[in-house]
């Protein structure tokens, strides 16, 4: 490979320019899905090709990057994307939410509230919230344009009719600034209230070739019925490692005899709390000497 073939953060400058234009448009029309010419990336679709392209277009050499997958910094997807940018952009990386300037995420929003100046990039598998209700793209575009969102409530109606409550637990549809209905990517509905944030939130769908965005402090309302209001649900338990009662938990099976433990899905949040001395029910016994 020659020096000329290398460009900062993998993508060539014209591609980044194209993506930035789409990002600006997406920020100007919150919740609107902007088509963009998604590129072939050196990873399979479904691994975050959309998020990686958005991150590549946003990164500067001074940025500090954090990558999380289901809240964890140490899973395959997170590790491989972090390594990708360490190699192609030579940016600093971190696992601490507060220190990061750009955070690429899959399926979670960090527990620690984000601040102004931070960018949160989501990997999105299917950007169209109406897709499984209305298979025709021409029709869903028309429905967005004319604000015909009755169908979205039909889905919630079906949930209640069959399960007694709104059972949609992730990718819970939201209405942005009273206009566009948006799929917040498959984050748990526990994270929906955190969509109203001080950070810039960018959503990239590589295979579907769509980008959408939430500017800071945008009003985001989760759809519901008057008599079945939205509820941000989580496992009714405390974290077994750090004792936190308000964070989103993963259930981990520990043996084949029904043993299980609940731990924070946000590994950085949990580790920080443990370092501060918080302990949970299953924390290792400390030695008193």
């Amino acid at each position: 490979m020659t020096d000329q073939a290398y460009n900062f953060a993998y993508l060539d400058e014209q591609t980044k320019r194209m993506i930035r234009r789409a990002l600006l448009k997406a920020l100007a029309v919150p919740g609107y899905q902007v088509p963009f010419a998604s590129r072939e990336m050196p990873m399979p679709y479904g691994w975050g090709t959309g998020g990686v392209q958005v991150t590549a277009a946003c990164l500067t050499p001074e940025d500090r990057l954090k990558v999380i997958d289901q809240g964890a910094d140490d899973t395959t997807n997170a590790v491989s994307i972090r390594k990708f940018f360490e190699r192609t952009a030579e940016v600093e990386t971190t696992e601490h939410t507060a220190e990061a300037t750009v955070i690429q995420t899959r399926h979670r929003i960090p527990e620690q509230p984000l601040e102004e100046g931070q960018i949160l990039v989501y990997q999105v598998p299917i950007p169209e919230p109406l897709r499984f209700l209305e298979p025709r793209e021409t029709e869903t575009r028309k429905m967005h344009a004319l604000e015909e969102y009755g169908l979205m409530h039909v889905k919630l109606y079906e949930d209640i009719a069959h399960n007694g409550a709104i059972s949609t637990a992730y990718a819970y549809p939201v209405k942005v600034e009273g206009r566009y209905v948006m799929d917040p990517s498959p984050i748990p509905k526990f994270d929906n209230p955190k969509l109203e944030s001080a950070a810039i939130q960018l959503f990239g769908a590589g295979r579907e070739q769509r980008i959408y965005a939430l500017p800071p402090h945008t009003k985001v309302v989760s759809l519901d019925f008057e008599d079945h209001p939205f509820e941000a649900s989580k496992a009714d338990h405390d974290c077994d490692l750090c004792g936190c009662g308000s964070s989103y938990l993963d259930e981990v099976i520990t043996d084949d005899a029904g043993g299980r433990m609940f731990v924070c899905s946000d590994t950085d949040f949990c580790a920080t709390r443990q370092a501060e001395g918080h302990r949970g029910a299953l924390s290792p016994q400390e030695e008193y000497a």
Binding site: L133, E148, G150, L151, V154, Y157, E158, F225, H228
Partner: protein
């Protein structure tokens, strides 16, 4: 009194062939208009033009809207026309599968139009859905079943409930009894006749079944080769047909 729907010179060509040519009629509130003719006579083309699904080459379709009085549907903007289509209008398809969401429960199917016009209370939506299922003779315990689990006749009745729940004033029906066996047809016709009279609906019914128009329609229009060949009161046209084609049509009905 202004007509609810006034059709003036509606013409549609498919390339060089004529779909329907220069059709004129007025539909008055509470009136049911039947359009009969053989396959290919242009009756479905005409219905698509009237209901805004197809743009005719020439002519006007003036609908008496609730808010602004008579307006040409064809010059309306698309949002207005779609709003009309889910409030004041209803369209009953020949094949219930075209008009229903097969993956959504019966209650959800009926409730969709309510939610589309802003209903956001689950208990109210469900109560109305159950009420309407009762009116079309579908028992309450089927409310959470998908239309796939319904018989053809039930699917057709569900489609009617789904369309009438928002209290439309004009119903377009395309062969509403097509593909149903005779006893189910008879019950459906009975039901339709009851609903039309009870709600004071106006309707345009396209069919090739003369028995259907005899029972439901006040007035009749006979089409052949894209042209209207005869119009008049239903009984008058059927009992004393003037045009050669109408005579043929009436005499073609099998007597049991």
């Amino acid at each position: 009194m202004t007509p609810l729907l006034s059709v003036q010179g509606v013409t549609k060509h498919y390339g060089a062939r004529l779909g329907c040519g220069d059709v004129n009629f007025d539909l008055w509130p509470g009136e049911v208009m039947g359009i009969v003719g053989e396959s290919g006579s242009g009756k479905s083309t005409l219905l698509s033009c009237l209901s805004g699904q197809l743009a005719p080459d020439a002519g006007k379709v003036v609908f008496d809207t609730r808010a602004e009085g008579p307006r040409d549907v064809l010059t309306m903007s698309e949002p207005e026309r779609r709003m009309l289509a889910r409030t004041d209008w209803a369209f009953v398809h020949q094949n219930a599968r075209d008009g229903l969401r097969m993956g959504v429960s019966a209650g959800g199917n009926v409730g969709e139009r309510l939610m589309a016009v802003g209903a956001r209370n689950y208990a109210d939506i469900r109560a109305q859905a159950i009420d309407w299922l009762g009116r079309v003779e579908i028992s309450e315990d089927r409310v959470d079943d998908r239309p796939r689990a319904f018989s053809g006749g039930m699917q057709q009745r569900l489609q009617i409930a789904r369309n009438l729940v928002t209290g439309p004033r004009l119903v377009f029906m395309d062969e509403p009894t097509g593909g149903l066996d005779v006893s189910v047809q008879a019950r459906l016709l009975d039901l339709l006749r009851g609903l039309v009279r009870e709600m004071g609906l106006s309707a345009v019914i396209v069919t090739h079944d003369l028995a259907v128009v005899r029972l439901l329609a006040d007035r009749l229009m006979v089409m052949k080769g894209g042209q209207v060949v005869e119009t008049g009161l239903t009984d008058q046209v059927l009992d004393d047909p003037q045009h050669g084609y109408t005579q043929l049509l009436v005499s073609s009905v099998l007597q049991v």
